[in-house]
Subunit: 461 residues, 2 copies
C-alpha cells in the first residue's frame, strides 16, 4: 500500500489499539482512552500489561495477545519502549500509528535524534505511516474518531475544513474558536515531529478525501519545503489551501527547532513561495480559520470589485476601509443599477456603493430587493453584507431568502452580529446555504478577499 492508502486506514480504522491505555486519570493514556471511547464505534483494544479491563473494556497484556492486528495503534507509552512496541504491531500487521509520546528530536534530549531515526527506519521499511511522535493526535470529525489526548476536541462541528497543524496548541486554540464561530471540520491533524508523515503526505492523502473541501495549514518549518509546495500546486485547483506560516521573529529558528525539530526558515521567502505555488496566505490565526471557512463554503471570486451593503453606515465605512487596505476596489455600479436603486430606495438611504439601508431597515422586502439588484450588476465581483441586531423582538428582520438568491449570483460574505439567543437561527440558515458569516466587517471583507486570492490562483496557467 502507498502512504495515501495507509493514511486512509489511519483515519478510518475499524479497530484501534491503545498502547498505554489506563484508568489512571493522571496519565495521558487515560485521556486518550476517554477520547476514543467517546467518539469511536469500532473495536477498541486497550493494551496494558497489568489490567484485565480499562474503561470497562477487555484489555490485553501485550501486542502479541491481541485478537487481531488493529488497523490503527495509538501509542502513549514511555519513549524508550516505543520502538519495540511499534515493531510488534508491525509484525502483527498493523500499518498505521499515532504516536503521542514526546522526547524525540524536539527538545533538549541528546539521544532524541537517534531514537527518531531508528523508529523512522523501522516504519519506513514496513511501509507504515506514523502521525507524530510528539503530537496530541488526530480527529476524524465526520467519521467518529478522536485519536487524541483531548476528548473535548470531538465537540467541534462537522464540516469540510481539514486543519493540519505543526502545533497541537494551535489546534487546541482554533477548535474552541471554531465552536463559537460555527466553523466545522472534516479532520484535525497534529503533525508533531513528522516521523514519516509530513505536510506533503497529508496533502496527498487529503486530495483523495471526499469529506475535505478546503485545507488549512499551520506551518512552523519543514526540512523540505519544495515537496510541500509541489503538493500544494497539485491540490489547489480542486481544493483551496490556506496557510499561516509562523516564525517571522528573529529567534524563531531556535524556538521552532525546540518545538518540533525543524527550522523556521526565512519567513518572507517561504510566504512568497506559498503564494506562488497556489496557497492563500493568512497573517493571523483568526484569518487562517476565517479564510478556510469562506473557501470551504463559497465559490472563488474572479475580480476585485466589491459592493458593500450595510444596514448601518458605520459598518460600511469600516468595510470599505478594510477593502482598500487589503487591495480590493469599491465597485462602480452600472447606470442601470444606479437608476434602479434610486427608484427603489428613499432619499434617507445611501444608494451608491457603499450602500446604507439604515432608513429602510424595517422593510425586509425592500432591503432584499436592493441586495439582489446589486448582486446582478456586472461591475460587481463580490459582495460584503453587514447586518446588526437592533430594536427589539422580531421587528428587524434579515432578508435571508434574498441573501441566498444574491449569493447565487456573486461570492458573498456576511457580517452578522447579535446578542446571544436572538439571531442564531438566522445565522444558521444563512450558513446552511453556503454563505459564511463573521463577527466583524473586517473579517467578512478579508475573507471575501481570500476568495479573490483563490480566484486569481485558479486563473493562472
Amino acid at each position: 500500500m502507498m502512504k495515501p492508502e495507509r493514511l486512509k486506514t489511519l483515519f478510518n480504522p475499524e479497530s484501534v489499539a491503545v498502547a498505554g491505555a489506563t484508568d489512571n486519570e493522571n496519565k495521558m493514556g487515560y485521556h486518550v482512552m476517554k477520547s476514543l471511547v467517546e467518539s469511536f464505534d469500532g473495536r477498541i483494544y486497550p493494551v496494558n500489561p497489568g489490567k484485565d479491563q480499562v474503561f470497562g473494556i477487555a484489555a490485553y497484556p501485550g501486542v502479541e495477545e491481541l485478537p487481531e492486528a488493529p488497523d490503527l495503534a495509538i501509542i502513549v507509552i514511555p519513549r524508550e519502549k516505543i520502538h519495540d512496541t511499534v515493531k510488534k504491531f508491525i509484525e502483527r500487521g498493523t500499518g498505521a500509528f499515532v504516536i503521542i509520546t514526546s522526547g524525540f528530536r524536539e527538545a533538549e534530549m541528546p539521544d532524541g535524534g537517534k531514537l527518531h531515526e531508528k523508529l523512522r527506519n523501522l516504519v519506513e521499511r514496513a511501509n507504515a505511516v506514523v502521525i507524530g511522535p510528539n503530537t496530541f493526535g488526530i480527529v476524524n470529525v465526520r467519521r467518529g474518531l478522536n485519536a487524541s489526548f483531548t476528548p473535548a476536541l470531538f465537540k467541534v462541528r462537522g464540516g469540510s475544513i481539514a486543519l493540519v497543524s505543526q502545533s497541537g496548541g494551535i489546534c487546541h486554540l482554533l477548535a474552541p474558536y471554531a465552536m463559537r464561530e460555527g466553523i466545522g471540520f472534516s479532520k484535525i491533524i497534529g503533525l508533531g515531529n513528522r516521523l514519516n508523515v509530513d505536510f506533503p503526505e497529508i496533502l496527498e492523502y487529503l486530495a483523495t478525501d471526499d469529506d475535505t473541501r478546503c485545507i488549512a495549514l499551520y506551518i512552523e518549518g519543514t526540512e523540505n519545503p519544495r515537496r510541500m509546495l509541489d503538493e500544494i500546486v497539485k491540490i489547489t485547483r480542486s481544493k483551496p489551501v490556506v496557510a499561516l506560516k509562523a516564525g517571522r521573529f528573529e529567534k524563531a529558528d531556535r524556538a521552532s527547532r525546540s518545538h518540533t525539530g525543524s527550522m523556521a526558515g526565512d519567513y518572507r521567502i517561504f510566504v512568497s513561495a506559498l503564494k506562488q505555488y497556489g496557497a492563500v496566505v493568512a497573517e493571523t490565526l483568526e484569518e487562517l480559520i476565517s479564510f478556510a471557512k469562506a473557501l470551504s463554503m463559497q465559490k472563488p471570486m474572479f475580480g476585485d470589485r466589491v459592493a458593500v451593503v450595510s444596514l448601518v453606515a458605520g459598518l460600511g465605512m469600516v468595510a470599505c476601509d478594510t477593502a482598500e487596505k487589503c487591495g480590493m476596489k469599491l465597485a462602480e455600479f452600472s447606470e442601470n443599477t444606479r437608476s434602479q436603486l434610486y427608484e427603489l430606495l428613499p432619499p434617507y438611504t445611501i444608494r451608491d456603493n457603499p450602500v446604507d439601508l439604515g432608513f429602510v431597515a424595517s422593510d425586509v422586502e425592500l432591503c432584499g430587493k436592493a441586495i439582489e439588484l446589486i448582486a446582478e450588476d456586472r461591475n460587481v465581483d463580490g459582495i460584503v453584507l453587514n447586518y446588526v441586531y437592533s430594536w427589539s423582538g422580531d421587528f428587524l428582520q434579515v432578508p435571508v431568502d434574498s441573501i441566498i438568491r444574491a449569493s447565487g449570483q456573486k461570492p458573498m460574505t456576511v457580517c452578522l452580529n447579535y446578542p446571544p439567543g436572538t439571531w442564531d437561527d438566522v445565522r444558521e440558515k444563512i450558513e446552511a446555504n453556503g454563505i459564511p458569516v463573521y463577527s466583524t466587517p473586517e473579517m467578512a471583507v478579508k475573507s471575501l478577499k481570500a476568495l479573490g486570492d483563490y480566484g486569481k490562483i485558479l486563473l493562472r496557467e
Copy 2:
C-alpha cells in the same frame, strides 16, 4: 449649568419623558419605551396625545400636562414636530435630550440642514444638551438607564469602558462582541449628528465620570478636530483614550457626509494627530474594544521588552511573530532568571524566552513558579501568557494565583481558549483580578502593546 453638568443629569436622570411613546411595535417609540422600562427605576412619563397609558404607565397628551419637568426627554417623533416639542420641554425646565429621529443634515434632505441649525440655536440659547439627532441613543450601563431604541443593549456587562461612537451600528456590533468576550461598559453613547454634544463635550464630561476608566472612540469625521484633540490631551493622563478613525478609503468623505453630516478628512493626518495628542490608535473594531479592555483593567507598560510564556509552543511562536510585527522586543532574560529557570524546569521545556511549559503543563505549581520568576526579571517590561484547554476534566489546571501575583509585578495579558463550559470560572477569576483575557495570542500581544503605547504617552512631557 455648564455642559458637563447638564450631561451628568442626562446620564443620571431621576425622571425621563418619552415624546413619541407608544404600544405599537411597529414604531420606534415602542422600542424606546421597552428599553427604558426594562432598565430604569426612576419616574417615566410617556407623552402621547392619544393614549391614557403606554406600557401600562400613565401617559400625558403633551409636555404641558407633565406633572414635572423631566430631567431627560427622549424624542422619537417626526422631525417636523421636534423643534416645537423641544421648545416646550425647555420652557418647562428640561435641559437634557436624546433625539433619536433622523432626517436632519445627514441624508439627502434639502431642508435637513436648516432644521438642524434652527434646533441648535434653540438648545444653545437654553444651555441645554442634546445627544443626536439621528442616534440610537445612550446607555448608562451601571446606573440603569437604557435611553435607546435597542432593549438588548442593556444586556451588556457593567464595566469601566465608555464607548463613544459616531455610528450606532458600531455600538450594535461591539455590544454583542463584548458580551461574548466578557468586556464591560460604563456607558455606550451614540453621538449621531452631534447637534451640540460632540466628541469634545463628551470627553469633558467623561473626565468627571467616576464609573469610566477608559474611553473608546469610534470617529468618522468631525468639523473641529482641534477641539477634540485638545480634550484628548487633557483627559489622557487620567483616563486612557483609544480611538479608531474610519474613512481611510477614497470615497469616504461622501459616505461619511451622508451618514452623520461630516467629512472624514485625511485619514493619515487625523491618525498622526490622534497619536500625537495622546490617544492609543486602533486599526480594527476588534482592536478598539480589546485595547480598551486592557487599558481599563491594567496598568500602563513602560518599555517594550516582552516575555512570552506559553503552555504550547505554537501559540508562543504566533505571539512572538505578533510582538515583532507590532514593534515590541522579546525580552532577554537576566542571568539570574535564566539559571533559575534551568534549575526549575526539566529539559523538555523551553527555558528561554519564548518559554514553553508544555512538558510540565500538568504541574500547576511548577508552571506558576516559572511565571512568577519571569515577572520579577528587570529585563521584562510586560508578559503575554498563552494557555489552552487540553486533556479532559480538571487534569490540566491554570496557575491562577501565580498569574495574579505575577500581574502585580508587570503588566500582563492572557490568551485563554477552551471549549464552552470548561474554563469559564478560570477566566472569570483572572479577569476579576484585573488581567484581561483574549481569545487569540495575537490580540493578547497587541493589547499588551496598547498598554505600552499608553505608557509612552504618559512618559511624554
